[in-house]
């Protein structure tokens, strides 16, 4: 993952026709730098029915994905396909680096546990001090997270054998092995992502169904933030800045240049927009003609006139 924001490539996973972002840093980046909030769609495995506080992944509109792609700050990965490919075709070096990354994560976990332990010990020591002046050396405790040492060893054995090349016989029985005594005792972890396995991909499946793109990028370029508009009765709600800070100014619909719009739609949308203190924004782009390619985009705002 590039650390500077300049060369960041947002990974957009295309899964079942939806565009998802799984990296929280990417989410922050596209929100800060590109004015895209999109919608969090992930719920918690422990409580999958709650739908008020949603988290990763972030689901993008096709328009968002296309826009990021056009700005060359993202790539789209056909996730199911790429994942399987990566797993099947993993060479020795990749396998090693993946195992190494797992180890690093485990070390980090160990550090966190150690720190927590040290802190709690220090706290207890402070409490006891007035009563017991002689310093008591705290007894060595096993790592906080590990209930069963044998389990750790099993995990370690299992993990390594899982990625062993098929030529070697795969150990299946998790009998406690004769471990070399020098081996570090690290807590077992369950990786929740396979990020480390995937390096910057380049697969770019086509983005489809971005009919509202002209209006969408027109608004985005002018600093507007766009969220789904159903709650106000339109295709999009358009905010003059981050929705955390502003109320929406417009409810927007995108139309084709020559798409005939029934007058009743304008009246009802205008009325509805005014009722929620917004104005109804309609926009469309002039199609490309022979010599000029991208036509101008025209946007109109409709409000109730109060008479």
């Amino acid at each position: 993952m590039p650390s500077t924001e300049d060369d960041r490539q947002v990974r957009i996973s295309k899964i079942a026709g939806r565009y998802l972002v799984f990296d929280i840093d990417d989410v922050a980046y596209i929100r800060r730098q590109h004015g895209i909030c999109a919608v969090f769609t992930g719920t918690m495995p422990q409580n999958p029915t709650q739908n008020v506080f949603l988290g990763l992944p972030l689901e993008l509109y096709a328009e968002d994905a296309k826009m990021l792609l056009d700005r060359k700050v993202a790539y789209i990965a056909d996730d199911p396909l790429e994942h399987l490919n990566k797993l099947k075709s993993m060479d020795d070096e990749t396998r090693k680096s993946y195992l190494q990354s797992i180890k690093t994560q485990r070390r980090t976990a160990q550090l966190v546990f150690d720190e927590a332990k040290a802190q709690s010990q220090a706290r207890h020591k402070d409490k006891r001090k007035p009563k017991q002046p002689p310093v008591v050396v705290p007894t060595e405790l096993p790592p906080a997270s590990v209930a069963d040492d044998a389990a750790v060893e099993q995990e370690e054995g299992g993990e390594e054998s899982f990625f062993e090349s098929p030529s070697k016989p795969v150990k299946t029985a998790p009998v406690a092995p004769q471990k070399p005594p020098v081996k570090e005792k690290l807590p077992a972890i369950t990786p929740t992502t396979s990020n480390a396995m995937i390096h910057n991909g380049t697969s770019n499946p086509d983005v489809e169904n971005h009919t509202a793109l002209p209006l969408y990028s027109y608004l985005n370029e002018r600093g507007y933030f766009i969220t789904p508009g159903l709650r106000f009765g339109g295709d999009f709600s358009v905010y003059p800045g981050d929705p955390f800070r502003y109320h929406a100014h417009y409810m927007a619909n995108s139309y084709g240049w020559d798409e005939k719009i029934p007058m009743l739609d304008l009246v009802t949308s205008g009325r509805l927009g005014t009722a929620v203190k917004k104005s109804f924004l309609m926009g469309g782009q002039k199609p490309a003609t022979g010599d000029s390619e991208a036509g101008e985009l025209r946007a109109f705002c409709i409000e109730w006139a109060g008479m």
């Binding site: 608004l219 002018r222 003059p240 100014h249 417009y250 139309y255 084709g256 240049w257 020559d258 798409e259 005939k260 719009i261 029934p262 007058m263 009743l264 304008l266 009246v267 205008g270 009325r271 927009g273 005014t274 203190k277 917004k278 104005s279 924004l281 309609m282 926009g283 469309g284 002039k286 025209r298 946007a299 109109f300 705002c301 409709i302 409000e303 109730w304 006139a305 109060g306 008479m307």
Partner: protein
Amino acid sequence: MSVDQHLQALTKVVVNNLENQHDWTQVQTHNQDNLPRPLLYGLAPKRLYVHPDEQIEIIKAEKELNERIPQEPELEWVLPLHLAEKWSISDFSAVFDAITAIPPGGESVNANEDAQWQLWRGRKRGKRILLATVQDDSTVTYYWMHNGLVKPRQN
């Protein structure tokens, strides 16, 4: 009924409604070659539209002067439409491209352009049209249509 007759009747309904229900004055029909149909313009009894930024300027000016600034009505464009019609973005664009922001005869109302708030009646005024949508029972509904992104009023 030919298209011309239909448009004439439509325009007449709107003129009658403006003059008799909404007390508009100086209602004029405006014909122009590049317009798909005649437009109307006229003067409402009180000012119909104040841009939110203009409102801020007015409040500032009122604080400075320590008195209320009376808001004279402005000439406004009106586009007569029937509810059964269907218009596209390109149709509306054609109308907006054909008109000036201020209807004919509306420019002279504000000679003094020193005050910021008064610019909104002059060169800062954006193009806007009142859509007058007529239904068969002669109900007419009025909606503002602004050219470009114009933020909503604080109502």
